[in-house]
């Protein structure tokens, strides 16, 4: 029995290391935690966003804290002000890794507001 457990452990540890090593390194922009801890957000951000979008569009309840606009404002890269422009961008990086296509940014702005304002001036 002991042998089996130790064998399993030996198999699992490198596996855990391997997944950790492959996980995408993201450009988190300004970063910081304003809603929940990162692990919870990785699993559940889509539920927050889908709930917020219906409340905001249909009822006019605009909870700024969990709005997509607010996410982009902090998590857009400090280099190019975008959450999808590069392979390691905050949204694109993970979604590429997980092979989940997002179409949020076909309509929603993927850039920080200041970057868009600068572009208008040009």
């Amino acid at each position: 029995m002991k042998l089996l457990v130790s064998l399993l452990l030996c198999l699992c540890i490198p596996l855990a290391w391997a997944t950790e090593a492959n996980a995408p390194k993201l450009d988190i922009g300004k970063g910081g935690q304003c809603v929940r801890d990162p692990q919870w957000m990785r699993k559940n951000h889509m539920h927050l966003l889908i709930h917020q979008r219906d409340e905001a569009v249909r009822k006019g309840i605009r909870d700024e804290q969990i709005s997509l606009k607010n996410c982009v404002e902090c998590h857009a890269s400090l280099k190019d002000d975008s959450v999808i422009a590069r392979e390691d961008s905050f949204c694109a990086g993970c979604h590429r890794y997980e092979a989940v296509k997002i179409d949020c940014f076909e309509c929603h702005a993927s850039k920080r507001r200041v970057a868009l304002a600068k572009k208008d001036e040009k």
Partner: protein
């Protein structure tokens, strides 16, 4: 009751009080950082009164402001989005000319909402007619149903939209009465931009509002009143 119990009770009371005092300001700050958390109310009905006597032929300021606010290209091809357009009409019997802006009339009984197969077209509780683009499949029934030709379809992919006004290819869109501004307590961009103050925006349900008082005192019409859609946009001097 033992002395120990009383002491414990006293301790709990004071610590609870202290905790409340410590947390309360934080909660207040938290609330103000949340944005608008109450839903649009059906006690309000947003509307506009457009004074055509003050609307000048050739002036396009409201349309320009609308385009800028909502990130529209400003093109006037059939494939370009136009949320608001200026119309010049002439009475051929006497040559009297009138100029007026035409856009979504935010009907109380909107035909676009009646025909929408997915529930994407909807009327918010405060009377603003909107497209929920998350549900829009781009079938364009609403565009055919609208008697005011107020809706546009987005034909091409878009980039760098205004963060407050998401727009995208394959969906229908129209005047939102600048709902993102209204929710912040501001006026629609067109009403603010009009140099002659020809567009009066306000709450039709509030008897004391400027718009309700003016509607009571001057003659106004609904465009295509025969359809009995009860639009929220009214015209004076038409």
């Amino acid at each position: 009751m033992s002395d120990l119990d009383t002491q414990r009770r006293q301790f709990l009371k004071t610590s609870l009080g202290a905790a409340a005092v410590a947390i309360a300001p934080g909660m207040l700050l938290f609330d103000t950082a949340q944005g608008k958390t109450e839903a649009a109310s059906s006690k309000v009905r947003w509307g506009m009164l457009i004074d055509t006597a003050q609307c000048k032929t050739g002036c396009n300021d409201c349309v320009t402001a609308c385009n800028k606010e909502n990130g529209l290209s400003g093109g006037t091809l059939p494939t370009d989005s136009q949320w608001m357009r200026k119309i010049d009409i002439k009475d051929i019997s006497n040559g009297h000319e009138t100029s007026l802006p035409m856009m979504c009339q935010h009907c109380e009984e909107p035909p676009c909402v009646d025909v929408c197969p997915t529930g994407a077209s909807f009327k918010r509780a405060d009377g603003i007619v909107l497209v929920d683009k998350h549900r829009c499949i781009g079938c364009r029934y609403c565009m055919m149903a609208c008697p005011y030709k107020a809706r546009s379809f987005v034909h091409e992919p878009l980039h760098d939209q205004n963060p407050d006004v998401p727009r995208g290819k394959g969906t229908v869109e129209s005047c939102t009465m600048c709902v993102h501004r209204i929710d912040k307590g501001q006026q629609p961009a067109c009403a603010q931009a009009c140099p002659n103050k020809a567009i009066l925006f306000g709450n039709l349900n509030d008897a004391n509002s400027e718009i309700a008082q003016k509607l009571r005192s001057v003659a106004s019409v609904q465009v295509r009143a025969d359809l009995q859609l009860n639009p929220g946009i009214r015209y004076q001097g038409l």
